[in-house]
């Protein structure tokens, strides 16, 4: 039961639905994120680990390029703390792959650790969301991606290179309200910062 393919009930204007690959080892969180994404009219594929995500994306070379294009993933949203491969390690693998690095990656975490957020953003994460993820987070993400994705296809711009310490791609009209690599601002939280990193 590692891979769950769930179609969206929404009618999309184009022939291509916004396809999100969700990665989370928690079965509860997978169910919730799937629902959030479906409600936001996304096609969802949910997997329970980083290695399964890479398998699905065809990074191990098993999938032919034709199959990969048909399965086109528009966004990867992954939990940070997972056994085996963390979300951060998955992010690095994706950004390190010529085939996959263009896919935006969003990290989710229940722990508000500044160093962790910065690390992920510097490695090329599109955004960093605090868990539990809300419907408003997903809707904002989808809207941003849909706008940015079109522009990216038009301009044919490459995603950020390892040299960029500041993730200030010209595609963005304005910085994401949740986080930027430069300022490390993020959504205000009711709970205090947890210093202990597990």
């Amino acid at each position: 039961m590692a891979v769950e393919d769930i179609g969206s009930g929404c009618s999309s204007s184009g022939d291509q639905e916004f396809h999100v690959l969700a990665v989370d080892d928690s079965i509860i969180d997978r169910k919730v994120i799937e629902r959030l994404l479906k409600i936001s009219c996304c096609k969802v594929t949910a997997v329970d680990s980083g290695s399964r995500a890479l398998q699905y994306l065809g990074i191990d070379g098993e999938r032919s390029s034709l199959e990969f294009d048909e399965l086109k993933v528009n966004l990867i949203i992954t939990d940070y703390s997972m056994p085996g491969m963390t979300g951060y390690e998955l992010l690095k693998k994706i950004k390190g792959s010529t085939k996959l690095r263009q896919i935006p990656v969003v990290i989710m975490s229940s722990e508000n650790i500044l160093a962790r957020i910065d690390r992920c953003l510097e490695e090329g994460a599109e955004d960093f969301l605090m868990k539990p993820v809300q419907l408003s987070d997903v809707e904002r993400l989808r809207d941003f991606m849909l706008r940015g994705g079109e522009e990216e296809r038009e301009l044919g711009r490459k995603r950020k290179t390892p040299d960029d310490s500041c993730d200030c791609r010209p595609l963005r009209k304005r910085p994401t309200p949740l986080a930027t690599a430069c300022s490390s601002t993020f959504r205000a939280l009711e709970e205090p910062v947890i210093v202990h990193e597990s």
Partner: protein, 136 residues
């Protein structure tokens, strides 16, 4: 029946058993997914059995393996957070604090609290879902 269900639901919030996250889950429920909240809660209780067993075993065999205890509890706390289980989450945090300072007795004692809150919420939610179903 409907009034009873609503009363019980409100009580769960008033008494601090549930927080806003439960409301978020309710917002995700509609005609296309009329039992979503109950499904998520059921999933939580099924899944948490193995985590509880794992902690129990660790406390029995290697009670000073605080890293392991913390890791398991992190998962358990995460799931509790996802369903809005406010009191359970609080006890999980307390347990992790005992792990942080290496207090075995504290962990053992606190784990009983975790299990109690976990079971209490289960009973209340099962009752609530039953009433809600009968009200439809």
């Amino acid at each position: 029946m409907e009034r009873q269900a609503a009363y019980l639901r409100n009580a769960l919030f008033d008494q601090g058993y549930l927080d806003e996250q439960f409301l978020q889950l309710e917002d995700l429920q509609d005609e296309t997914n009329p039992h979503f909240v109950e499904e998520v809660v059921k999933l939580f209780y099924t899944d948490s059995v193995r985590l509880i067993q794992s902690i129990e075993l660790t406390l029995k065999n290697t009670p000073r393996d605080f890293e392991k205890l913390d890791k398991i509890m992190h998962q358990f706390k995460g799931s509790s957070t996802s369903i809005g289980a406010k009191k359970v989450k609080k006890e999980c945090t307390q347990f992790q604090e005992y792990c942080n300072v290496g207090n075995v007795e504290g962990c053992i004692r606190e784990f009983q609290e975790v299990k109690q809150e976990h079971a209490a919420l289960k009973r209340k939610l099962e009752h609530y879902f039953q009433l809600a179903r009968e009200a439809r």
